[in-house]
């Protein structure tokens, strides 16, 4: 059958990956699929045959797609090659992933994009290391639709008992992580048995051929029926419109919908859905679409936040448990800093615990490890520098998986298996409930920023006793006000004798409740658009805990954290500037102002110095 016999034009395409152990015949199968569906350009077959003659080699179907000459010399496929063939009204985009162990990252790059997979096993060699590893990784990568192809049946005399043995062994292996293949098909790719045409050599097999099996693969079920997830990709202001751009990864949204942004807990309504060259303009967006929306309220939201409806919020935490595969040149180490990317969120993270390394050959587990080597899979707990919105991968695919970046390269990937409850959870929930119910006036955060020439922020000075914290805080406040900013020194002492007067001696001894009250006061002050300058003085040596509580309650307002120390000691997490105090206060103030600029608090765009208009 040639493509011209197909009744109508291909209306859809399906990404298929072919995986399996090295030399089990992936390229041959691919060459055969092209030839048997009549998808080769004129002259391609003859050209490859001519090259083979020149090099004195026997022609093989595999050569058709090993486009690089080097590969033909080495006899292995190096990278994920993408090619296409058409069959019965559907285009198959075939990703030929290499089987050689060294090239696992390319296999993963290929398989991660696949909507279906063919996994090859050599009938003569049987189930090998990579057959198992690839089977396990397909499951980890979320490729649920796959057929196992037992190749080179001609080399075992087309014997049913050989096939049945492999069928049984491999199904048992897959069953350990609850993966079930669509089919297991005995074939000879070289001779064309059970590829397009049913094999006359194996009358005992009555299941579908490889092409029939591909034809039965479904397009990924629409995720539009799930709750809404729209990770913000960017915010544009090319013209009068302020457009929130992103790709809907689940669910749908309509004009007029009330949206929640996580983890900032901001809320707004969809005013319009923007599109270029679409008439009439769309009123709805659904999973898969790259959309742009404008909001009824000019709230400040950023890339990395996840948009949802209020009824079905994503999880928010600074920690989660995950299954991770590692591809990096250097091993993944516990405690080292990596960049985590969940959907569009990029945040620094570290591996808090390596619970166990999973051997994909026999699924045994190795415990008590501090490093994860290249091509290994493990169960980890990851801790992020700032709270992130995410989902469990079992419920949401796109927001439930992530990659880890080591220096410049993506070095690993994983799926979120459970949320880890951190000690800030109750406070975060308090902040979320408070923010949802927050009563706003007519003046928004952006209006205040425009008016004041800066955004709200908290400058928080931590450290031990007598390190000069209060003096530094007073210096910063004075300098900001002298520069025309709206700044205010929030001193803990003023809360202690007033707001905290009702606390018992015991409660004053612990930082928790005092820090909570302090955080809520700070939250009110930053809502007025102020830059709040404060110290952790009232909390004594419990400043690490107090600083974290304040952070959680004022999120997502930027906290510029400065630590002053006289001796080497524990610096609170996420500290921006460490000063060996008492220091040169003018130099320290300059550094802090630089940091405020870098963080966009004193953005040049909204005026370095505000213009005051006097009226009498």
């Amino acid at each position: 059958m040639s493509p011209s016999d197909t009744p109508s034009k291909p209306s859809e395409s399906l990404n298929i990956v072919i995986v399996g152990h090295v030399d089990h015949g992936k390229s041959t199968l691919l060459g055969r699929l092209y030839a048997d569906t009549g998808s080769l350009p004129d002259g391609k077959l003859e050209k490859v045959q001519a090259i083979c003659r020149q090099q004195g080699k026997e022609f093989e179907y595999a050569f058709l797609f090993d486009a690089f000459l080097e590969e033909q010399e080495q006899g292995i496929t190096i990278d994920t090659a993408r090619t296409f063939f058409g069959w019965k009204g559907r285009d198959y985009i075939i990703i030929d992933a290499p089987g050689h162990k060294e090239f696992l990252k390319n296999m993963i790059s290929g398989a991660a994009r696949a909507e279906g997979a063919l996994l090859l096993i050599d009938a003569l060699e049987g189930v090998k290391e990579q057959s198992k590893k690839h089977g396990y990784l397909l499951s980890l990568l979320g490729v649920r639709q796959f057929a196992v192809v037992v190749n080179k049946m001609d080399l075992v005399g087309y014997r049913q008992d050989v096939f049945d043995g492999i069928d049984k062994e491999y199904r048992e292996f897959l069953g350990q992580f609850k993966a079930v293949p669509q089919q297991i098909i005995p074939v000879s790719a070289k001779l064309g048995d059970n590829i397009a045409n049913r094999s006359a050599q194996m009358p005992w097999y009555t299941g579908p051929t490889v092409l029939d099996s591909l034809g039965a693969f479904q397009k990924e079920p629409g995720r539009s029926e799930q709750p809404l997830r729209l990770p913000i990709q960017d915010v544009y202001k090319f013209d009068a419109r302020r457009v929130i751009a992103g790709r809907v990864t689940a669910g749908r949204l309509k004009v007029g919908d009330s949206l929640v942004f996580s983890p900032s807990n901001k809320r707004a309504m969809v005013k319009s859905i923007e599109a270029f060259n679409v008439d009439p303009p769309p009123v709805e967006g659904h999973a898969g679409q790259s959309v742009g929306v404008t909001l009824d309220d000019q709230i400040f939201v950023e890339r990395g936040e996840i948009v949802s409806h209020q009824e079905q919020l994503p999880l928010v935490s600074t920690a989660f448990r995950a299954n991770v595969f590692w591809l990096g040149r250097r091993p993944l180490e516990r405690g080292r800093r990596y960049q985590l990317r969940v959907a569009t969120k990029e945040v620094d993270c570290e591996v808090a615990t390596i619970h166990r390394i999973i051997d994909t050959m026999d699924l045994t587990q190795q415990q008590g490890c501090n490093v994860l080597n290249k091509n290994q899979v493990a169960e980890l707990t990851i801790r992020t520098k700032a709270p992130v919105a995410f989902d469990l991968s079992a419920s949401f695919e796109a927001t439930g998986r992530f990659v880890l970046v080591d220096e410049y390269d993506i070095a690993g990937g994983g799926i979120v298996t459970e949320q880890v409850h951190d000690d800030q959870e109750f406070l975060r929930e308090e902040a979320r409930q408070r923010d949802f119910a927050w009563v706003k006036g007519e003046v928004g955060v952006e209006d205040r920023a425009q008016q004041y020439g800066h955004r709200a922020a908290i400058v928080l000075v931590t450290g031990g006793r007598h390190t000069g914290k209060s003096f530094l805080a007073r210096t910063i406040e004075a300098r900001l006000v002298a520069d025309g900013r709206h700044a205010y020194l929030l001193d803990g002492e003023n809360l202690r004798r007033g707001l905290d007067a009702d606390l018992s001696e015991g409660e004053r001894g612990q930082a928790t409740e005092m820090a909570r009250r302090y955080g809520e006061v700070a939250r009110l002050l930053v809502d007025t658009g102020l830059i709040v300058v404060s110290t952790t003085n009232p909390f004594g040596l419990a400043y690490v805990e107090a600083a974290q509580i304040i952070r959680t309650l004022v999120h997502p307002v930027p906290v510029i954290a400065i630590h002053m120390s006289k001796a080497p000691e524990e610096v609170p997490p996420n500290t921006d500037i460490v000063l060996s105090g008492p220091a040169d206060f003018d130099a320290a103030t300059r550094r802090i102002l630089e940091e405020l600029k870098r963080r966009g608090v004193l953005a040049q765009a909204i005026g370095a110095k505000p213009i005051f208009q006097y009226s009498i």
């Binding site: 209306s11 859809e12 350009p41 000459l69 990278d79 990709q233 090319f238 599109a275």
Partner: protein, 265 residues
């Protein structure tokens, strides 16, 4: 139609990622059907705007109608167009009779490298498609190039779940390929769907020939075809088994492989 919209959504996502991550970004525009569709997708992604410059590496041997079309579209769509040329090589008399690979390397690859160096672009968006020829099938959406513009296809970074390589050491740059998943037929279907203006060199104007792929006049030959409209082209492509770039002389032998390793588009 649904399939075209899926391709569009993915390309738009890639373009927005590129714009977000690269401060010094540009798009290569050859005025051919692919890079014109790419330009249209940029207007889709950025709501009618094209927030980065378009680069054209002019070999001086282009078909004259292409230059007229370039200047007209740039004017009508308000594009920032930057034209580069390897003037030294041209002054020294470089042309295709000195060897096609030599000529392409000097006027296109080196012309592009000069432009990149001069402007310091760290991200270049190109309209290459995986189905065009073998080496392009190996590409990533975000594909790093080293200091010399070379491509190490043996050791490409992993790319998964729409997470791309957007960080890179100083002195290197990233090539971005939003059209990787598109086929030649998709390009024409999309031109029809969106009614995108294209050059009529792609159509038969009565002599029974048309261009299927556009390049320099001396190295690009028309194919025999009576396709007089986009519909005709789509119909023709559905039945053809001739490779798209069969009219492009530099593809012969190992030409493209050699060219692309050294930084050819």
């Amino acid at each position: 139609m649904r399939h075209l919209r899926q391709l569009e959504d993915q390309s738009v996502y890639i373009l927005r990622e590129a714009y977000k991550h690269f401060d010094n970004l540009a798009m290569l525009w050859s005025m051919g059907k692919d890079s014109t569709v790419l330009l249209w997708l940029a207007r889709k992604a950025f709501f009618g705007h094209v927030p980065f410059p378009l680069l054209h590496v002019d070999t001086s041997y282009k078909i004259p109608a292409m230059i007229e079309y370039r200047d007209r579209v740039a004017r009508e769509w308000g594009l920032k167009l930057i034209v580069g040329q390897n003037k030294e090589a041209l002054a020294a008399g470089m042309n295709h009779t000195l060897g096609r690979v030599n000529c392409c390397t000097a006027l296109k690859t080196n012309g592009l490298k000069q432009l990149l160096e001069q402007k310091g672009y760290t991200g270049i968006i190109l309209g290459v498609r995986a189905d065009e020829e073998g080496t392009r099938a190996k590409e990533r959406y975000f594909s790093p190039r080293d200091k010399h513009g070379d491509w190490d296809f043996r050791d490409q970074p992993p790319e998964l779940w729409n997470q791309f390589k957007t960080t890179f050491p100083p002195g290197t740059h990233i090539r971005i390929h939003p059209l990787l998943d598109w086929t030649e037929i998709n390009i024409w279907e999309y031109i029809k769907l969106e009614n995108i203006p294209f050059m009529d060199l792609y159509l038969d104007k009565g002599d029974g020939t048309r261009y299927r792929s556009l390049g320099c006049a001396p190295c690009t030959t028309p194919i025999k075809s009576t396709a007089k409209s986009v519909d005709d082209i789509i119909e023709e492509l559905r039945h053809t088994t001739v490779a798209e770039r069969s009219g492009r002389a530099q593809d012969e032998g190992r030409g493209m492989e050699l060219l692309r390793k050294d930084g050819y588009m």
